[in-house]
């Protein structure tokens, strides 16, 4: 029973993997870049994955053959004779690709070596194996030429810069057309339920890592009491989110969040005041009393 449950877990994990693969795909396609585009790289990657799957399939077929060999042990002599009369297509292919000499002619290529009874045959190198070796050598030469002589494909540093540029471009396009009618000094808390929910969602996935999902504080301070290290007004909180706090783990979110979302998050933080969650950190910083409501 236990094993079945684990299997179920595994299949679900696999599903997650496949879904996520799709996720990254759609994302990567939207990225742009000069030279070899991300899209082309993606196709190359998929090509590689395809080749790998093909090879895995071959190995699987091989293992099946192996299993069959073991199972044949159980067959009766009659069954076996019938089975072995006609060589399988796989056996034929195997023989031709390897340039195998029929076993009966083996005497002709037996070398005069004898090491503690071990003899050696003088068979040819398997042709497909030789071909594989040549292909990998060509691959190596082409690879080095592309990346280090003609420099037509980007190395890791440039690829990273492109990845960041693509992400920035995406963000810019998402933010085009936003109407922002406030700055960090004039910002006021929103009371709109949808906007607060948006702030809450962000808080619980990102801020909660340090401030705990209920705001009680972990690595970062408690946000639910009246004591603040950098001021407790809407404008103060907004500034901390926007600019970060130097020499602490609080980073600046400005490059990642647009002003409306920063306001939503700050507004949500304001709603945590006085919630008194269990296990909250002790007060830290200075008492802040709102001047006027």
């Amino acid at each position: 029973m236990n094993i079945i449950r684990k299997f179920k877990h595994k299949t679900s994990a696999l599903m997650v993997a496949i879904l996520m693969l799709l996720g990254t795909k759609t994302y990567a396609q939207s990225a742009t870049g000069s030279g070899i585009s991300q899209e082309t790289m993606l196709y190359i990657t998929f090509g590689l994955v395809f080749v790998v799957s093909l090879l895995v399939l071959l190995v699987a077929i091989y293992v099946l053959q192996l299993l069959k060999t073991f199972i044949r042990k159980e067959m009766s002599a009659e069954q076996l004779a019938k089975y072995e009369a006609e060589p399988s297509w796989f056996a034929k292919l195997w023989a031709s690709w390897n340039d195998l000499k029929p076993l009966e002619e083996e005497e002709d290529i037996l070398l005069d070596h004898d090491y503690d009874g071990i003899k050696e045959l003088d068979n040819h190198l398997p042709p497909w194996w030789k071909g594989l070796f040549y292909v990998t050598i060509v691959y190596a030469v082409v690879y080095l030429l592309i990346f280090h002589v003609f420099e037509t494909a980007p190395l890791q540093e440039e690829r990273y810069e492109r990845e960041i540029a693509a992400a920035d471009a995406l963000k810019a396009s998402q933010e085009a057309g936003l109407v922002v009618d406030f700055d960090e000094n004039t910002v006021t808390a929103t009371t709109d339920a949808v906007e607060l929910a948006d702030g809450q969602k962000f808080f619980e996935t990102q801020c909660a890592l340090c401030h705990k999902a209920d705001g009680g504080g972990l690595a970062g301070p408690n946000l639910t009491d009246k004591y603040w290290k950098n001021g407790g007004s809407m404008s103060d909180i907004y500034k901390v989110i926007k600019n970060g706090v130097p020499n602490t783990a609080m980073i600046s979110w400005e490059s990642q969040l647009n002003p409306l979302r920063m306001r939503n998050v700050a507004s949500y933080v304001m709603t945590l005041q006085g919630t008194n969650p269990p296990g909250a950190l002790p007060p830290d910083g200075e008492l802040y009393e709102p001047e006027n409501e």
């Binding site: 877990h9 693969l21 996720g23 390897n98 503690d116 050696e120 194996w129 990273y160």
Partner: protein, 707 residues
């Protein structure tokens, strides 16, 4: 021609075989324990000597050097005497080799749990043991070359070529990678720093796989497989081509362990392309093994020895295809630092090495005790348990690797990490860690069955300590002509020299420029040597084996610079890292940018009980760091040693360093006190916090300059 009478030494083989079995059981048992600790961290029972960080090196060392190593020696000593028609060169050397090697293993089993480690993977043993290894290895080499020189067989068989390559290359690898400056009797710092240390280490690590786990076992395959199958080796030509191409190409491929790191691009690319070119040479060995079985497949069905060998050779083929594919950068970007790699090495270790050893033992024991195998049925049970064990081990690990990697990399539509909390990606794969332990248990129970079977076999027979043999002496005469390679086969000294040349080329071409050309590691002005307290902290980090689960290498991917909140790691940041601590697996998150990311209190609480700050964490608590004190008398020695290897501490700094140490420790102590935490400034945790808070912060004082 007059026949000479002589005797083969079976006793030394017996001893090595027994050691193989004992250490196989021990090494796998430790493996099983640490596999379980990954979902049951309490399994160290709160003892510092049994944490994952200290036991993992014990597992790898025991399995590689004790289990596989002793098996190699057993197999080599048995086959070499017979292939060369002579007793070993010197019985005395044989026994020095045997007992010396076992002493080294015992020393490893004591020092590693004590936390005496260099942190360099598969080279963790400290400098006195390194010297012992060198001496014993040379004893083995003298014994082997001596045996070759007094042979009664004109030509050396392919198995002997592989044994020679093993001896020569492991000697070079071990000596070069073990260059270190002693601080105390059981503490040293690597001679190399940062990127250079990483390159040397993975040149070593990769080729330890090549020349300790692969070439000797190909040699064993070439003796025991045709022997057991009673068939001629398929192709002499293939043996020649795949031997030379394998040893020449293998040595270049080390940098594939460092793809997307701060290693210079050109070195990474060499690692990639030489790995790809390695497919055919590796498969040459597999093909020669499998095709040797042509016409003997009916025997494979009957004979457990052949069954084990067939699966071993197949596993070899699978992992030597997978390895090169993992060296392709786009695949490596997904697989590196994940459990995919763990799956990969275990297909090789459990499949190729393990099954080959089992096959050899099932063949060897009845032969040396002059009897038949006690029970073929038990051997078959072992075979199926082992095969099933490998599958149940590998599949969940592959799944875990891919799932976790994709979770690390996944951004949502708004451009945020879908799983910003690293821990989420860990808890997701914990069920797969459980499956893996079950796989390991299956494999292990198969081994126990083997132990019983072999003991019963020995009991029903009578051991033959000296096996009589006869052969004509080798005539002193000049032979001209013949195949060009057969000329080499009768000239062992030239053969050995050519082997040495073949394996030196790749290493020299990759290492010399990395050491000599400055542009390969652009210096960063703001990067400074560690303070005395941080040095103590770093040594605690090494002692506890933190690098077994945490990397210190943020790769140039958006998913990593966003997750770890900082720039990707630069080569110039590691110039004072003796040794480098990049790690090879992320069971926990990367730590290179952890400095300043959390406050001191967080670290204090986290190390005391990781689940208090990270619910669900599988990291064990480290309460002893709060009881134990750092030894400030060692500060001066540390600083002097580091200055010797090039860290620019001012002359005389070692005399005043402890004042700086105290000042920094007091600052942390006082900071903790503000949160009502009282801890002596000499506690180990204070030093560790100092080190962690320093990590990756130098570069934030941004003033990059290419000097």
């Amino acid at each position: 021609m007059q026949l000479e009478q002589f005797k083969y030494d079976n006793k030394i083989v017996k001893y090595f075989a027994i050691a193989t079995v004992i250490f196989g059981v021990v090494g796998m048992l430790v493996g099983l324990i640490i596999a379980t600790q990954l979902f049951l961290p309490q399994l160290n029972f709160g003892i510092q000597y049994t944490t994952f960080g200290r036991l993992r090196p014990l597992h790898t060392n025991a399995v590689i050097f004790a289990f596989v190593g002793n098996a190699m020696f057993a197999g080599v000593y048995y086959s070499m005497q017979r292939l060369l028609k002579t007793r070993m060169f010197s019985d005395k050397l044989s026994w020095i080799h045997f007992w010396g090697w076992q002493l080294i293993i015992v020393a490893a089993a004591i020092t590693l749990p004590l936390g005496l480690t260099t942190s360099k993977e598969y080279a963790e043993l400290e400098w006195p043991i390194d010297i012992a290894i060198t001496l014993i290895w040379v004893v083995f080499g003298i014994n082997m070359i001596g045996t070759i020189l007094k042979r009664r067989e004109r030509h050396m068989y392919v198995a002997i070529w592989f044994y020679i390559a093993t001896f020569v290359t492991v000697a070079v690898l071990h000596v070069v990678n073990s260059f270190e400056i002693p601080v105390t009797l059981f503490k040293s710092y690597s001679w190399y720093a940062g990127v250079q240390d990483a390159l040397v280490q993975w040149w070593y690590g990769h080729n330890a796989v090549a020349f300790f786990l692969t070439t000797p076992f190909l040699g064993l395959m070439y003796y025991y497989l045709p022997k057991a199958a009673n068939r001629p080796v398929y192709s002499y030509k293939l043996s020649i081509i795949h031997f030379w191409s394998l040893i020449f190409i293998y040595i270049w491929a080390g940098p594939h362990h460092l793809l997307y790191t701060s290693l210079p691009d050109w070195a990474q690319s060499l690692g990639t392309v030489f790995s790809i070119m390695l497919i055919a040479p590796s498969w040459g060995g597999m093909l020669n093994g499998l095709l040797t079985l042509r016409g003997a497949w009916d025997r494979v069905r009957e004979d457990p020895v052949l069954k084990f060998m067939v699966v071993a050779v197949t596993a070899y083929g699978m992992s030597t295809l997978e390895g090169p594919l993992l060296s392709i950068k786009s695949i490596n970007a997904i697989a590196h630092f994940t459990d995919w790699i763990i799956a990969h090495v275990h297909v090789g270790g459990l499949g190729w090495n393990g099954f080959m050893i089992f096959g050899v033992l099932y063949w060897l024991v009845p032969k040396m005790w002059g009897t038949k195998l006690f029970s073929t049925k038990l051997a078959n049970t072992h075979f199926w348990l082992g095969t099933l064990g490998i599958i149940v081990y590998a599949l969940p690990m592959y799944t875990a690797g891919v799932v976790q990697s994709l979770m690390w990399k996944n951004f949502n539509a708004e451009g945020f990490l879908e799983y910003p909390n690293f821990l989420e990606t860990v808890t997701q794969i914990v069920p797969m860690y459980m499956m893996r332990a079950i796989g390991g248990l299956l494999y292990f129970s198969g081994v126990i069955i083997m132990v019983v079977n072999l003991m019963k076999t020995a009991k029903q027979g009578k051991f033959i300590p000296d096996e009589a043999a006869e052969a004509p002496a080798l005539e002193k005469k000049k032979i001209v002509g013949g195949h060009w390679h057969s000329v080499l086969e009768r000239k062992p000294v030239i053969f050995t020299s050519l082997t040495l040349v073949a394996i030196l080329i790749g290493g020299v071409i990759e290492m010399v420029p990395t050491f000599l050309i400055k542009s390969n590691i652009p210096t960063i002005a703001s990067v400074q040597p560690y303070t005395p307290l941080e040095l103590h902290g770093r040594d605690i980090y090494i002692r506890e084996g933190c690098n077994n689960c945490h990397s210190q290498m943020v790769r140039p991917f958006r998913s990593e610079t966003v997750r770890y909140k900082g720039e990707y790691s630069k080569a110039g940041e590691f110039v004072y890292d003796h040794p480098f601590l990049w790690g090879s697996k992320r069971t926990g998150p990367d730590l290179h940018r952890v400095g300043g990311a959390y406050n001191n209190v967080w670290h204090f609480n986290h190390m005391l009980d990781p689940t208090s700050t990270s619910p669900g964490s599988i990291m064990p608590p480290y309460p002893w760091l709060y009881r134990q004190q750092i030894d400030a008398t060692k500060t001066a020695g540390k600083i002097k040693a580091l200055r010797t290897v090039g860290v620019p501490y001012e002359e005389g700094y070692e005399d005043v360093a402890n004042a700086d140490l105290k000042e920094q420790a007091m600052a942390i102590k006082n900071d903790l006190k503000e949160s009502d935490i009282d801890i002596p400034e000499t506690a180990e945790i204070v030093a560790l916090i100092a080190y962690l808070q320093r990590l990756g912060t130098d570069i934030k004082a941004e003033s990059t300059a290419n000097k």
